[in-house]
Symmetry: C2
Subunit: 136 residues, 2 copies
């Protein structure tokens, strides 16, 4: 039961590396050397982040990637959702038909509360906080 998949993990580490290097353009080659991650896989990850506007890409010789936003306005939740889609604790599914007890079910309400909390937490963690050396 994991909340963060491999691609999200690679993305996080790549983005953290980029953030620490400020606006330097960094090639896939450099990232592969630094992070020891499969080249083809990380390329796909970076391209996706570029399409979502989190990274900027530079084509051609001496090309590469850099952050497209301030480190304090990139959030963990956003990165997770790029690769893992929207967050849903429990769909409350019984086959095809809508859950009959939806309105009075306490379980569903509890789960929704937890979901809201997790989302709030993940939204508060900015890239800046991640790479900071300060506590919390």
């Amino acid at each position: 039961m994991k909340l963060i998949t491999r691609d999200t993990s690679y993305a996080l580490h790549a983005i953290c590396y980029l953030a620490k290097e400020n606006d330097r353009i960094i090639s896939v080659d450099e990232l592969v050397k630094e992070l020891k991650v499969p080249r083809a896989f990380i390329r796909k990850v970076l391209q996706k982040l570029n399409k979502k506007g989190i990274l900027k890409s530079y084509k051609g010789a001496h090309g590469g990637f850099s952050l497209n936003k301030k480190a304090k306005s990139v959030y963990l939740l956003d990165i997770m959702q790029v690769f893992q889609g929207p967050f849903k604790l429990n769909e409350c599914v019984f086959k095809k038909k809508a859950c009959p007890e939806l309105k009075k079910c306490r379980l569903k309400k509890k789960l929704d509360n937890i979901e809201d909390y997790i989302i709030k937490e993940l939204k508060e963690i900015s890239l800046k906080k991640m790479i900071s050396s300060k506590k919390l």
Copy 2:
């Protein structure tokens, strides 16, 4: 990105039903009729819960299942872990070798904090709370 799989969901609903019926022995047939869930699947789910000591089973004619614990001492986390294994936000994996920055990595620390929080939350939700009609 879902935190609760289908089998956990079925388990929760079955267990809630059992809890509401106190110590009555309830057959798979009854559960299937009540919950409209695939018979073979729910059987597997119930057998697993029995092995883990959360349910008691009664074989033979008029057999079935009942709760093996007080509703206030069965927790959501336990049920989830029966089907989904131990909770791990992020394994911090770079291929086979241990993560080199494990000790100073802030990202890892943040994720661990979130993980701890989720576990704490899920541990606090007892079956009794789930089926209660009171708030929170």
